[in-house]
């Protein structure tokens, strides 16, 4: 490196100090702006904002009110906040991952301890009964809740059709296993396929429905298309989605979550404010759309209709 002697440099060659400082400030402003934008984009990438998927199904809200005077949760929230690990373990991530889910053709096999086992085409299954509006409270085991206007019919209609044998005591439900359509089934987060179960008398209860729609429209894929179970007095994970198989058995089936963590998720999983999840309280819940907390009600408020199913049973031991 040649160090020029001072007299080699003409004074006109020396960068004016002000210009030098200006240039430096210019570069610094660029660095500051550039890094800030990059950080912002990185944050956005890792934590996408979900305004709510625009959907072609325009819905008139507010027309669905329960007998207790509760208003249905926004369609946007019901369809953008889902626990459906087959698509994503992020509740906000399910809706985008579920877009384009193919539900045709779809069959539901009803088998096991029945007189007339049968595989229903979805259309045939839906012909068994007319779809009714059922506005149910939905209480997630994670201590949040919604009010959902389902469109469905009693599961009992299907079970009568196949004629359960006297030895049938339980019903086991299975979700579709297809990693091509359920991308997260490639991930080792749960033992696939998802399995749930009910006692036969719970399954035959008039409140227990198979839902094929909500808000008067076909069920969106993120909510369990094309057909799912809804058992409103139990925690949401019992209401298994995208069902392909219903099997009646004499043995109590093991639900997926019970298999994963039997001390946290029991077979019954009735909504019960007195039985805490080992890691959080179940005494209160956050109704989606509200700031405060509500008190959780035993059997999710459906005790009048279902409490007799469990008479004489210790609900703490049989959680």
């Amino acid at each position: 490196m040649v160090i020029k002697k001072p007299d080699d440099i003409k004074s006109s060659e020396i960068t004016d100090e002000r210009l030098y400082l200006n240039r430096r400030n210019f570069i610094r402003a660029g660095v500051l702006a550039g890094t800030t934008v990059t950080t912002g984009l990185l944050y956005r990438k890792l934590s996408p904002n979900r305004v709510g998927q625009p959907t072609s199904q325009s819905v008139v809200s507010g027309s669905y009110v329960t007998t207790e005077g509760e208003t249905a949760t926004d369609f946007k929230d019901i369809t953008n906040y889902n626990n459906f690990y087959e698509f994503s373990t992020s509740k906000q991530g399910v809706a985008p991952a579920a877009q384009g889910f193919v539900t045709k053709p779809w069959t539901v096999e009803v088998t096991g301890r029945v007189q007339r086992p049968r595989t229903f085409d979805l259309d045939d299954l839906l012909k068994l009964a007319s779809l009714e509006d059922r506005i149910y409270r939905h209480r997630c085991v994670e201590a949040w809740s919604m009010v959902i206007p389902w469109l469905g019919f009693p599961l009992e209609r299907v079970l009568r059709e196949v004629e359960p044998l006297a030895s049938a005591k339980f019903v086991k439900f299975t979700t579709l296993l297809d990693p091509k359509r359920f991308p997260n089934q490639d991930a080792d987060v749960l033992p696939w396929p998802y399995v749930e179960g009910l006692r036969l008398d719970e399954a035959l209860h008039p409140l227990t429905i198979l839902a094929a729609g909500l808000y008067g429209k076909t069920l969106p894929p993120q909510n369990g298309a094309p057909i799912r179970l809804v058992v409103p007095w139990k925690y949401g994970f019992k209401s298994i989605k995208s069902i392909v198989r219903i099997e009646l058995s004499s043995e109590q089936p093991t639900s997926t979550w019970t298999e994963v963590a039997s001390n946290e998720y029991g077979f019954y999983s009735n909504v019960n404010p007195a039985v805490d999840h080992p890691r959080w309280s179940q005494a209160t819940e956050r109704r989606i759309g509200e700031f405060g907390l509500r008190k959780t009600i035993l059997f999710n408020g459906y005790g009048d209709q279902v409490a007799q199913l469990y008479s004489g049973m210790d609900l703490k031991a049989n959680y």
Partner: protein, 214 residues
């Protein structure tokens, strides 16, 4: 790097670290945090706390590997942001989940290990934030200050365990944090081991600006 460049670098960190908080606040006011915005705020501030703890812990290894002694000057800002997001996370929990019912919070800490780990991690960060000023470094003396600030190790470990215990089934993100933390702490164990062996042969030379570094 002259003093002015270092001051500028600090400013870059100061502003960049505030970006997530700014976007989170913007999204909140525009109702773009999804169906459960309160849960989202709690979750995101928690993730940011762990992220900034990791960034703080990454300064020393990166500084030594790439021989960038001046980067130590960025560490305080990163550490204070970890504390800032940790405080926001704690307030979010105490407010949105408990509505400041102190008794319920105490019950929660006693009853639920994941809350206890979170509280432990936060509590360990408090003395670090309090003694973060130059005056406090001087008052404590570099050696004692360094010893005290090793509390960031158990704080970060408690934070990762807190997160791991919370998730239901998908432990991939907490385990990633755990892996990063293992590397960052492993580096220190390795360095210590190397130094204690090397010191027998070579006199330990001190780099400029090396004091007050853990």
């Amino acid at each position: 790097m002259n003093a002015s460049d270092i001051r500028f670098s600090k400013l870059v960190v100061l502003i960049n670290a505030a970006v997530p908080a700014a976007i989170l606040a913007r999204d909140y006011y525009r109702a773009e945090l999804g169906a459960n915005p309160l849960e989202f705020v709690t979750h995101t501030t928690g993730i940011l706390t762990l992220t900034f703890l990791m960034l703080t812990l990454a300064v020393t290894p990166l500084r030594k590997l790439f021989r960038l002694p001046w980067t130590v000057q960025l560490r305080r800002t990163l550490g204070l942001y970890a504390f800032f997001y940790g405080t926001a996370h704690l307030i979010a929990y105490m407010w949105f989940d408990k509505f400041f019912a102190i008794r319920a919070i105490i019950t929660d800490v006693g009853k639920r290990p994941f809350i206890a780990f979170g509280m432990t991690g936060f509590t360990l960060m408090v003395p670090l934030a309090v003694t973060s000023t130059n005056a406090m470094v001087k008052r404590l003396g570099g050696r004692r200050w360094n010893q005290l600030h090793r509390l960031i190790y158990p704080a970060a470990i408690a934070g990762v365990i807190h997160y791991y215990l919370l998730v239901k089934a998908d432990t991939r993100i907490p385990l990633t944090f755990g892996g990063v933390l293992l590397v960052l702490l492993g580096y220190r164990v390795f360095e210590k081991f190397r130094m204690s062996r090397g010191s027998r042969q070579l006199p330990k030379t001190k780099l400029r600006g090396e004091e007050s570094q853990a």
